[in-house]
């Protein structure tokens, strides 16, 4: 009679290898020297696809997976201790390595799991994010346009009002002339005309204003003469940042130093612009306590790759440097 236990034993051995081979994941067990103890079909195939050769040394294979150059067509899409490699057939595999203890001995376990679906989802997410960014940029533009549109509506509203008033002035003038009233009746009518004409003149004289002219006018209103030596960068972003530094310096000069003039010296070096800002007011007593304004300015400048240096002796001086993009610098 056949020993039923023997049969079971034999069946179990082959079925272990068979089911191990049929696992959807790649698996490999090896001793600490990299000598392969057990390897399934999937992992063997992955070794060919990733390294171009058979898996003989588990440690060498792990190094190839984490650091080596993948075989032609394959691409490592995630680095680190859990790398992900995309194969030429479009499938993506995540590799991991663990050290287990079996009967008191360390055994290295390498596992490769199919993350193709996850990777596809990640790719879709990237695309969606790129689209979202475009939309977001458009939204921001809409926001800017809106302010402009509202301002235009405001102007139109005012023009309509002036037009109405002109009509009224005309009517009053005609009545006054027709009824031959004296100077007393004409005086308020004259005043009406004067007002409408000066309002119209104000709007007719409106020219597009640059940031620089806004600053220069503000300085004049504050009783400070603003002197700028050198040329402002043509690049809009850099110009805006530099002038926000000048605004801050202007406020500081007026508030803390009682300055009457502010000097900005601009200099260019390849790929960068530098502005040194000084004033003629009283130098600060001791170190400057950086308030909210300077801190906010420093944050904005640094976020754009620039720097802000402040020295308080012998005079208070702000030095701003900003990188310029290549094309603008070479112009």
């Amino acid at each position: 009679m056949r020993n039923p236990f023997m049969t079971r034993e034999r069946l179990a051995r082959s079925s272990v290898k068979e089911s191990f081979d049929n696992l959807p994941m790649g698996m490999c067990f090896a001793n600490p020297h990299g000598f392969v103890l057990l390897l399934n079909r999937r992992m063997s195939g992955l070794s060919h696809a990733v390294t171009g050769s058979a898996l003989q040394d588990a440690e060498a294979f792990w190094t190839a997976v984490t650091e080596g150059a993948p075989a032609p067509g394959a691409e490592r899409i995630r680095y680190g201790t859990a790398p992900v490699i995309r194969l030429p057939d479009g499938t993506a595999w995540a590799f991991s390595r663990h050290v287990l203890t079996l009967e008191g001995k360390p055994v290295t376990q390498l596992v490769a799991s199919d993350v193709t679906e996850l990777d596809d989802a990640r790719l879709k997410l990237c695309e969606a994010n790129a689209k979202l960014k475009v939309m977001n940029d458009r939204l921001k533009q809409y926001g800017k346009d809106l302010i402009e549109v509202t301002a235009r509506e405001e102007r139109l509203d005012t023009k309509v009002r002036i037009h109405d008033e002109l009509g009224r002035a005309l009517l009053a003038t005609r009545r006054c002339l027709g009824e031959n009233e004296g100077d007393e009746a004409a005086a308020p009518i004259l005043e009406l005309w004067r007002r409408d004409i000066s309002a119209l003149r104000g709007s007719a004289e409106a020219k597009p204003r640059t940031t620089m002219t806004v600053l220069a006018d503000a300085a004049r209103t504050l009783g400070v003469s603003l002197r700028v030596e050198g040329e402002l960068p043509a690049e809009k972003g850099a110009e805006t940042l530099l002038l926000s530094a000048v605004s801050e310096a202007l406020n500081n000069a007026v508030r803390h130093a009682g300055a009457k003039s502010l000097t900005v010296v601009l200099s260019r070096s390849p790929g960068a612009v530098c502005a040194g800002i000084t004033n003629d007011g009283a130098p600060p007593e001791g170190e400057i306590a950086e308030g909210g304004g300077l801190t906010a300015l420093r944050r904005v400048l640094e976020a754009n790759g620039g720097t802000l240096e402040i020295s308080s002796a012998p005079v208070f001086k702000m030095t701003v440097t900003l990188p310029l993009s290549e094309e603008v610098a070479s112009r």
């Binding site: 979202l132 926001g143 509203d157 005012t158 309002a199 104000g202 204003r209 209103t221 508030r255």
Partner: protein
Amino acid sequence: MTKVLIVEDDPMAQSLMELFVKNSGRYELAACIESAAFALSYCMQNRVDLILMDVCTALDASGLMEAAKIKARLPDIKIIIVTSQPECDFIQRARMGSVDSFWYKTPREGEMLGVMDRTMAGEHIYPDTTPEVMVGGLSSREFTARELEVLRELLTGDSNAQIAERLGISEKNVRNYVSSMMAKTGLDTRTKLAVAADRSGIVNKDF
């Protein structure tokens, strides 16, 4: 005479306000400044009794933020915020910054001088409502305060998770507010909702 500082970057609105002030007989123009960024500096150097302050001013300076700073440093100066932006949060922020009054720009002299007189007499004039604008098929007045908060954040293009973190509510809550607003306005995507909101001016993140 009451000294008035005008902070306004639109030349037309500026010259109109200037005229109102000069013709009033009881107000005197101190200066006109285009950017709110310099208003505090001016007030520290010169006598000013009343400021007419626009919200969106030159050099991207927020009139609301600067008004709050001025009220903190020089509380005796009266400030009237004048704007034509329908962002409903502006009124709230003006109140928080202890701004005395808030006035939606209209080119009518009597109204403006009235608000100025009452403010100088110590009254606080605030509009009851914001100008009504439409977002999709819904009036701006039909939004709840929470919905507006979420809507304002939606304009950044950030994810629900990021918005939830900023507002200190759950991500699920954000999702619910967004879909409820989409249903109410009849706009079928969150992007359409954000674009419609931005266009209407109901919310404004820049100032």
